[in-house]
Symmetry: C2
């Protein structure tokens, strides 16, 4: 059997693990792909840099064309991250007739459908299991196992950094900044945490999953996105009092004419499977019309779990190359799917208000909500803030139109007896949670 | 694209759902397999029987050879269950060059490796995702996604009937017989529940998963198996006092020279993922050297989830037939793997003893354990049974050799001060649980 020569773009945390597995577990890879696979060349920015793993057989290069234009390279693995030059390199590899394995969620969320189209025209495969949920087998589950189903909904905790922070805030009552600092110290958050904390990472992953699950092209920039920076430890306590946990929820639903995609902090019932996801773990709950509810759980990021997905893809790819066939996605991901505007989405809401500590305030608040057709599910009157003669009022609504909830928030803010609305979060009530 | 004609063996609960999906969702199946798929013929025992779903296009037959010997049938789905004639029919289909999709755990646990070998020689595929865990994507996960890993361990709650019963016993303090009767009334248990309650079903599923995960042929009859009939509600309470839940645990570990496979009730820490699996749900925790811990959860049985797996397999199979290729398992499942004898297995244990209510008894008990090198992790002295002047003594040990634990049980039973040992269960202590 002919040796398949692999070119690797990027030798960071994931890249090093992938290189190590390909070189140090050669027997495993050979046995499982039915022949030798050789890591031939690795693109790095700085060939002289000290590294945790220095490939023994592969040649380091700083020139991408030594991989992309070498006809002897049969497979390209892209692990550079970020949009450019990764997107261009993937495109060039496909154009040169080379199949690609990538862990790049940013590129796949924005350009996945067109890259898959291009790959189809060139007769090569693009694999991207590692772009969503690290080693959790998500893409293959949508792509193969659940093909007999109409997928109606995806609910996920799909960003480890934010879940780690949220878990610390909930367990220890830590403030956001302190929990973030701890996450950074332990390597669960980047020095610039924006990408995770503001929900970009989760939104890209949700877009990629929804594209495959709902069969269509989805614009990641149309996904409603709200990060966890505004969360206050007090809301975790109040939520717990009402039987809820808080998570950065990635939520997608197929409405037929439109798809609903949103990423934001949300109250979820403590009995919900996602409430049991702690630390930096990820979990995805999928609902299909035949299969019912399926949950997949694991480490969604990190060098080793992501390398598991990348090398798994490489093995699968080389296997099919050796059979002379493709494993291309059999569903149409090019049909554009319209994302429902956030104002039209229906969701329950959690509001924490600072109000004047006098009678009649709750009636005023309830009237504004009632006029907009928003009904109240639970009310907590909480601690008195003595110095301001103010009370804290917590309201959980039944599901309502998001646009009406926003109007309610504006009208409430305008009330003389309302001093402020420090928290406005969405909630999944138990009846709609599962 | 040519129509693929499908023959279905069996029109029970799962078969009806499969027939309905193939006939009533023809557009979905056509789109996802790239061409028409027709349910052509269905083998039934009684063609005149009233049915929940009567196939509209397919012809019912009571003669298997009308499917197995018809050259116009391109795919055979086996959903008869039980060993014979299912095994023979699968073999005949393969011999006739027809790929097979089956949900038959009994056949696949006992004859999977040889049927896969035969299929390889005949150049056809055998798919069996539905044989383990209903719609939970387990086989494909082992077969494809985790191929870059050395799988070290599988821990599973893989039988819905027993988990439903156990959950009722734990939640409501119900006795086994009452919980079983409720399960039967609700359709979660068969009239003759032996197959589920005695752990056969779980042992077969564990064998199939371990064959694919650990790469080798495993004798299902060598799997240690103990059912849940002996469980007493009181043990659920004592376990809870010590921070444990009880589950019918399916446990497999690759020791390199040997594999360890066992199915029995076990105490597992309440923080363990499997402790959160309620009702008739199933979950499988897989540990790989790269991916870390992955959990897959869903409905492990029932018509619709199992049909999801069967039709998913049919779609995948027809897709690859249309590409003219096979999707055969790329790992060697023919190498025989030796199953470690149960006496040589190491496990913690939970013992409930009825002892004389006098001083010195614990010392006697502790000495017997100590002499065998079994150390005690926790002791509970529980309710006095006044009429017998007896006390209830609960002991949780650290992991020890099972053979030594059994010797200890014998020696303890022989003590004059020990009136009986009504419970002897295994336990996973937190340090070895994850």
């Amino acid at each position: 059997m002919e040796t398949v020569r692999v070119g690797l773009l990027g030798l960071g945390i994931v890249g090093s693990q992938v290189a190590e597995r390909l070189e140090c577990q050669r027997e495993l890879v050979t046995e499982r792909t039915g022949g030798p696979v050789e890591l031939a060349r690795v693109l790095v920015r700085d060939a002289a840099k000290q590294r945790t793993y220095l490939p023994s057989g592969a040649q380091l290069t700083t020139d991408a064309s030594e991989i992309l234009e070498d006809p002897g390279i049969g497979v390209v693995i892209e692990l550079m991250g970020g949009m450019e030059p990764a997107r261009t390199y993937i495109e060039r590899a496909i154009d040169a007739g080379k199949p690609v394995v990538t862990a790049n969620k940013e590129v796949m969320a924005h350009h996945g459908p067109e890259l898959l189209q291009l790959a189809k025209r060139r007769g090569v495969d693009v694999y991207f299991e590692a772009a969503v949920g690290g080693g959790i087998p998500l893409i293959s589950t949508f792509k193969i196992d659940l093909l007999a189903n109409h997928i109606s909904r995806i609910q996920a905790v799909i960003n480890g950094t934010t879940n780690f922070i949220i878990d610390r805030m909930a367990r220890d009552g830590a403030a956001f900044d302190d929990a973030l600092a701890e996450a950074q110290r332990l390597g669960f958050a980047e020095a610039d945490p924006t990408y995770d904390v503001e929900g970009w990472d989760a939104a890209f992953k949700l877009t990629i999953m929804s594209t495959i699950a709902f069969h269509g092209r989805i614009d990641p920039d149309a996904v409603y996105r709200e990060g966890i920076r505004g969360l206050d430890p007090v809301d975790f306590r109040y939520a717990a009092d009402m039987g809820y946990a808080i998570r950065l929820l990635a939520y997608a639903r197929d409405h037929g004419d439109e798809v609903e995609l949103r990423v934001h902090p949300a109250l979820i019932p403590q009995s919900h499977l996602l409430a049991a996801v702690h630390d930096a773990y990820n979990a995805v709950v999928i609902e299909g019309d035949l299969v019912g509810t399926v949950l997949l759980y694991g480490q969604g990021a990190g060098g080793r779990p992501t390398a598991s997905a990348v090398v798994g893809d490489v093995i699968d790819l080389v296997l099919s190359m050796r059979k002379g066939v493709d494993n291309r996605i059999s569903v149409d991901v090019t049909r554009p799917r319209r994302v429902r505007p956030i104002d039209e989405v229906r969701t329950a809401a959690y509001l924490r208000l600072h109000v004047a500590d006098r009678s009649g305030v709750l009636a005023e608040v309830a009237k504004i909500l009632g006029d907009l057709g928003i009904s109240i599910s639970a009310v907590l009157q909480k601690q008195l803030i003595v110095e301001h003669a103010a009370a804290e009022l917590v309201i959980l609504t039944h599901p309502a139109r998001e646009g009406d909830l926003r109007t309610a928030r504006e009208r409430l803010t305008a009330l003389e007896t309302v001093y402020g609305i420090p928290a406005f979060l969405r909630a999944l009530i138990p009846e709609e949670a599962m």
